[in-house]
């Protein structure tokens, strides 16, 4: 049953340890102009003698080094990666190819608009698609990642209130929210207040209405929330928030659960960000680059970061820099364009029917796994769930086995662990999101592994608590690493 076998992977030291003087891996063309010496041009005092410790390597060593390192990584092309909330979907290869077309990678962001109409066409088409998918009126592609989009959105809410005479003071955020939400609110100069979840795992309308007042600038809601539950009162929540003059921000981390099914713009959301690396398959890259476009309703459009991409009427595009009410720039240049190409490629590959199908199958897969595991793992909230399901380790912790142990043991079975210990409102959370790009066989393998671990937790907890047993390294002593941080190579001592 266990699909993980052993295979050779090679040890490899740090670049700094395999260096040898005089090796090199790259040659520049010889200089083709009459030259002066650098000392003569700059003056000696500007010049460094050497770069202490920088290694010298041959091309073969560089390639072997990084290839060996790469084999130590789990990745989505290798297998199932059910990280809840992170949406580890298949990353289509065509996205990579088109993002590397020379006309795109060699485009400089300061080129005159007329010289980069193809770039602007891609960005403009992506903006229109995202506006339609979310039911919003305008989109900015400038933010570099989800949290960056949150900051952009909250700053727009602030600008909106300032334009109405008072920025207000508080922003309310459910206790189940991602940590970036309160952090983004705080650096926007607002006070964060958590909204408690109710027994069904949703925003408590009662609690919310008690907290709302005319000093609340906005409410930040993740929908479906981090338990995978659609906030069924969302329209009522939005009405209530609006009746106090506040705005609704939606964290679009889980937008992949509603493509073509329902639209934030149709249930009262005023501003939201999307994570292109979640819903729209731009690769996670081992932790970035991401992309976090923000969509707004008309009332917030004038506050979008400048410049704003605009159609010229004759099929061309240009940037409008004259935006007197803009929140300003949130990043140099107009966002991570390489990610925009990939996301548009994905949207165009799917079309309207395909996008809806991705959501339908993502929800089917998550509910399939839920139905197969809910007798073995505790389900703290039994509301209907969409694209992900959150179990707790309650059944296993009785045997001394934690969510962390279960996660590590899954590695031995050849699977990436789910997200653990999030959301914070579930103790020992195991947050599973299969996405639509997994086969039934792959999911069945995972389900079998989870059930086997549940059994091990009862019969042989030690094997779970000491996992993983099959990896290059065992559990890392994270506490010591944090107590005595070693953050760069200082040589062998």
């Amino acid at each position: 049953m266990n699909r993980a076998g052993s295979h050779v992977n090679l040890n490899e030291r740090l670049l700094f340890e395999i260096s040898s003087p005089g090796r090199h891996a790259y040659d520049l063309p010889p200089i083709d102009i009459p030259t002066r010496s650098i000392e003569e041009i700059l003056g000696k005092e500007q010049i460094r003698e050497r770069i202490e410790g920088m290694p010298e390597l041959s091309e073969v060593e560089v390639i072997r080094h990084f290839t060996r390192l790469s084999t130590w990584n789990y990745n989505i092309d290798l297998g199932f990666y059910p990280l809840g909330s992170c949406t580890m979907k298949h990353n289509p290869k065509i996205n990579e190819l088109v993002a590397r077309l020379p006309g795109f990678v060699n485009a400089h962001p300061c080129m005159p608009d007329e010289a980069i109409q193809g770039v602007l066409r891609v960005q403009s088409t992506l903006e229109s698609c995202l506006a339609e998918i979310t039911g919003m009126d305008a989109v900015t592609l400038q933010p570099a990642a989800g949290a960056h989009g949150e900051l952009t959105g909250i700053l727009m809410i602030r600008a909106y209130h300032e334009a109405h005479g008072n920025p207000r003071r508080r922003v309310l955020v459910p206790d189940s929210a991602h940590g970036t939400n309160p952090a983004s609110v705080a650096i926007s100069g607002y006070v964060v207040e958590p909204i408690p979840s109710d027994a069904n795992g949703m925003v408590s309308l009662d609690a919310l209405s008690k907290m709302l007042a005319n000093d609340v600038a906005g409410v930040m809601i993740t929908n479906p929330n981090t338990l995978g539950i659609f906030e069924s009162n969302i329209a009522e929540i939005a009405d209530l928030v609006h009746s106090h003059g506040a705005l609704v921000y939606m964290d679009g981390a889980n937008l992949n659960a509603m493509l073509g099914i329902t639209r934030p713009g149709d249930f009262g959301v005023d501003v939201l960000h999307m994570n292109l690396h979640k819903t729209f398959t731009t690769p996670h890259g081992g932790g970035g680059p991401g992309a976090g476009p923000v969509a707004v309703k008309k009332a917030l459009e004038e506050f979008l970061p400048y410049p704003v991409l605009t159609g010229s009427g004759d099929g061309g595009f240009y940037f409008d820099w004259n935006r007197p009410h803009s929140i300003g720039k949130i990043k140099a240049f107009n966002g991570p364009f390489g990610m925009h190409v990939r996301a548009l490629c994905y949207i165009l590959a799917n079309g309207p029917e395909g996008l809806k199908e991705t959501t339908e199958v993502a929800v089917l897969n998550a509910n399939y796994i839920r139905s197969k595991l809910e007798h073995a793992f505790a389900l703290p909230y039994d509301s209907p769930t969409l694209h992900e399901v959150v179990f707790s380790d309650d059944n296993q912790s009785r045997h001394g086995v934690s969510a962390w142990d279960i996660a590590k043991r899954l590695i031995d079975y050849g699977f990436h662990p789910p997200t653990v210990y999030f959301p914070l409102i579930v103790s020992g959370a195991l947050m599973i999101e299969p996405t639509e790009t997994e086969s039934r066989d792959e999911m069945n393998g995972f389900i079998d592994a989870m059930l086997a671990i549940a059994k091990e937790a009862e019969e042989n907890p030690q094997v779970v608590k000491t996992a993983p047993h099959t990896t290059r390294i065992g559990r890392v002593d994270e506490a010591s690493a944090a107590r005595r941080p070693v953050l760069r190579w200082k040589g062998n001592k």
Partner: protein
């Protein structure tokens, strides 16, 4: 849809096992009044050949074959072929953030190597795992200085990249932080007399950029010393990371932050790129962003792991040092591979050729055209030409011969008249530089 493995019969079988009638039933938690009962109005699905065709056409609409002397924070450098070959390995680009250390050692060790490289290049003691880009990295450095000093005033060189300055303004506006501008001298360098006048014990940081927006290499040691005298931190921004291959590093600065796009990352119309932030060990706990540490596993083997997460938003929420969650791992990997490939000699050669070709271009413009080259300070690979007359005709003429002469500075630095910021890297061939000079006549 071709990216979905479950066939129609798989789906039926799964529903039957679940005892559910239809997929539609799974959406019962969404009130009917909120359901979209039409198809999304997005373009119809394209097959793979159609997608290729669509994007090839869009890419061809760009002026790819132009000779460009644009720099201003994004630089055209040669990128060794091995960089893209290696980052194209699925094991790197389709992995998630390395939270599970046992199956992420590849990414973790590569980030540790990136951190080490950045300390070597900047002369600092610690570096994070990367930030979004240069503009947000320098801004994060300012917020960090504000946290460390608990002071509210930031003195910013007017020769900081204008887009960096704009981003900084957006971030600090609501935090009670005040930005004050320090002007520049005819050398192109920061006016340190003006700086000294503005410095007092309310200043959190002095922000300079070197080479600065005009391409002039700053005396970062002098501004750091002045800052220190008043208990302020010195923040040095670096937009052109290739310069670190030869220039004396700003080791005396308290925080060095910037953009590493020059180290093997394509221009790609401005992103994704890779910001970095390096500082002194004593400020470690106020750093934003991810950090990888070296430690050991349960059997004492060397192991790498994300560390000091108690500074970060997923633990500290609203009290975190930054709201940033991600880093730019794959772009940091590009920089790491680039640096490994070039080595110290290769990187120095790149820097030398930038300096020499720029020097050649400056001399040519000065001796062969009627335009004036501004600023007398030492330069890396950029310089400012003040065009005689309106300047517009010259630029348009060059554009007609497929040469983008540089970035007009009318909008950001109107005091310079019709000025153009010109960048000459190692990729510019002699005949291209000569054609630029010819066109400027």
């Amino acid at each position: 849809m071709r990216y979905i493995p479950c066939s129609e019969s798989d789906r039926k079988a799964m529903l039957a096992e679940m005892g559910v009638q239809s997929i539609e039933q799974l959406f019962s938690g969404i009130p009917e009044k909120l359901r979209l009962r039409r198809l999304l109005d997005v373009p119809k699905a394209l097959s793979e050949p159609e997608l290729l065709d669509y994007f090839q056409r869009a890419a061809a609409e760009n002026a790819e074959d132009y000779v460009s002397f644009l720099g201003a924070g994004v630089y055209r450098h040669f990128i060794p072929v091995v960089v893209d070959a290696l980052i194209s390995r699925s094991e790197f680009y389709t992995a998630y953030t390395p939270y599970q250390a046992e199956i992420s050692q590849g990414t973790l060790q590569a980030i540790f190597e990136f951190q080490t490289y950045m300390t070597q290049l900047t002369g600092q003691e610690v570096s994070n795992a990367s930030l979004y880009d240069g503009s947000t990295a320098v801004t994060e450095a300012v917020l960090m200085a504000h946290r460390i000093t608990k002071r509210n005033k930031i003195l910013v060189a007017s020769t900081l990249h204008p887009e960096y300055r704009a981003v900084m303004e957006t971030y600090v506006r609501n935090l009670g932080i005040e930005l004050k501008t320090v002007g520049y001298l005819p050398t192109g360098r920061m006016d340190t007399v003006a700086l000294e006048r503005l410095l007092d014990d309310s200043v959190a940081a002095v922000v300079t950029q070197s080479p600065n927006f005009f391409g002039t290499i700053e005396d970062t040691a002098a501004s750091a010393e002045l800052a220190r005298k008043h208990g302020a931190l010195s923040v040095v921004g670096i937009c052109e990371a290739a310069s670190m291959g030869i220039l004396r590093p700003p080791a005396e600065a308290d925080i060095v932050a910037g953009e590493a796009q020059s180290l093997g990352v394509p221009m790609s119309y401005g992103g994704p790129h890779v910001g970095f932030l390096a500082t002194r060990e004593k400020y470690l706990r106020q750093m934003p962003g991810r950090l990888v540490g070296m430690g050991s596993d349960n059997e004492g083997r060397r192991a790498f792991v994300l560390t000091l997460a108690t500074r970060e938003q997923h633990i500290r929420r609203e009290k975190a040092t930054s709201n940033i969650c991600t880093n730019q791992s794959l772009c940091a990997l590009m920089a790491t591979i680039y640096l490994a490939t070039l080595g110290p000699a290769g990187l120095r050669k790149v820097a030398e050729q930038n300096i020499q070709k720029t020097d050649y271009a400056v001399q040519r413009v000065q001796t062969k055209t009627r335009h004036k080259v501004l600023f007398t300070g030492p330069r890396f690979n950029e310089f400012v030409i003040q065009l005689a007359g309106t300047g517009v005709d010259v630029q348009e003429r060059l554009l007609r011969s497929n040469i983008i002469a540089g970035l007009p500075l009318r909008g950001t630095h109107p005091e310079l008249g019709n000025a153009l910021l010109v960048c000459v890297t190692e990729t510019a061939r002699r005949e291209q530089i000569d054609a630029l000079v010819e066109g400027l006549k």
